[in-house]
């Protein structure tokens, strides 16, 4: 057991005291139990999207932003997805990707679509530098009756390509695209 020797001579009361470790251990164990019982290990996460509708005007926003290339992901086809690079209303390139869903523990994923979008962004993405504050934009076209799980699977594939982004002197890895929904 731990103790402190501080003398205790001269007929006075001894000053050697044992530190009571057992109550201390009991206290620590109680603390551990409490923290374990109240601990929350959340498995929730979020997939970001971006509304293109104008919010309240901001001073730092340009009146008419320059038109960048946009990747339109068309998921209305039964057998294939269509990736369309557009600059304004001008179609630059169209790629068909076969629709091959892979089921992972009850959820659908589209790994082939993710790979294709990644290679397309590497070839055609305009905002790839870490210091570039703008992001490439992807527009998702979906049928009104498509279940939300399918929409998330395609959004997940669009977020496969990542890039470095430096903000406030710190560099982090973020999704390369900002995604929004087509309203038509």
């Amino acid at each position: 057991m731990a103790g402190i020797d501080v003398g205790g001579h001269g007929g006075k009361r001894a000053s050697n005291h044992e530190i009571p470790l057992i109550p201390f251990i009991d206290f620590l164990l109680c603390l551990v139990m409490f923290l374990l019982v109240t601990a929350v290990w959340s498995h929730m996460a979020r997939i970001e999207a971006d509304a293109k509708v104008p919010g309240p005007p901001r001073e730092d926003e340009q009146d008419e932003p320059p038109k960048d290339k946009e990747l339109h992901v068309e998921m209305r086809g039964e057998n294939h997805f269509q990736l369309v690079w557009k600059e304004g209303s001008t179609v630059i390139n169209t790629i068909d990707v076969p629709r091959k869903p892979v089921e992972v523990s009850g959820d659908i994923t589209y790994p082939e679509l993710g790979k294709k979008i990644e290679s397309e962004w590497k070839a055609n993405g305009a905002h790839r530098a870490a210091t570039d504050k703008k992001f490439d934009r992807a527009v998702l076209h979906t049928d009104n009756s498509t279940p939300f799980a399918d929409v998330i699977a395609v959004l997940d594939a669009i977020y496969v390509p990542t890039r470095e982004f430096t903000v406030g002197g710190q560099t982090e890895t973020v999704p390369a695209f900002h995604v929004t929904f087509a309203t038509n």
Binding site: A2, M44, A45, R46, T109, N144, F148, A153, F181
Partner: protein, 190 residues
């Protein structure tokens, strides 16, 4: 003194050892261990200091990961989809869409019935008003600060895209352009 009867062994503090019970049983190795006998000592101190260090490490880890806000409120009727390329949650109003109900932070804020009936993108007025009120409140509490405009949609996996897009657009029009969808985290290697 000499004529007196000697005290029994239970009343006499010191006496000559007599016969010992079960002395014929060969437990020499026990005796040897107990009295020492050159072997390793049986009395060992439990190392309490490393144990306390270990407990302190656990306490510190649990305190660091302690969340005072508790678990994220997920409606029991909402079955969320999972995604691999998801990011961490942030603090924002949560709009839950389950069946025909729309809830904002647990408070009813409209129904999806009007969207389904119209079969086109429809603004949910009640949701719009609730979100706008939240936005106004935030602006009053934090004067001079730019409104972050984050909102999290907690949508059941079976809800049709038309409802999702309508809620998404309603949130955007209410001043929340940074919309996120709550998902479960799927391991990247699955």
């Amino acid at each position: 003194m000499s004529g007196e009867k000697p005290l029994s062994r239970f009343h006499q503090p010191i006496n000559v050892p007599g016969r010992r019970l079960l002395h014929h049983i060969g437990l020499g190795f026990v005796r040897k261990k107990v009295v020492g006998g050159g072997g390793r000592a049986m009395n060992t101190e439990i190392p309490l200091i490393p144990f306390i260090d270990f407990l302190l490490c656990i306490v510190l880890f649990l305190l660091a990961s302690f969340s005072a806000t508790g678990e994220l409120p997920v409606d029991k009727n909402v079955k969320l989809p999972n995604a691999q390329n998801a990011v961490d949650m942030l603090e924002a109003p949560i709009v839950a869409v389950s069946g025909t109900h729309i809830l904002v932070d647990g408070i009813p804020a409209g129904s999806t019935r009007a969207i389904v009936d119209a079969n086109r993108l429809t603004r949910v007025d009640e949701l719009h008003n609730v979100l706008k009120a939240k936005r106004d409140l935030w602006t009053q509490i934090n004067p001079g600060k730019p409104f972050p405009g984050n909102v999290i949609l907690q949508v059941d996996r079976k809800v049709p895209a038309l409802v999702v897009k309508s809620v998404f657009q309603t949130a955007a029009f209410a001043g929340y352009p940074a919309v996120s969808f709550m998902v479960g985290r799927m391991a990247a290697d699955e």
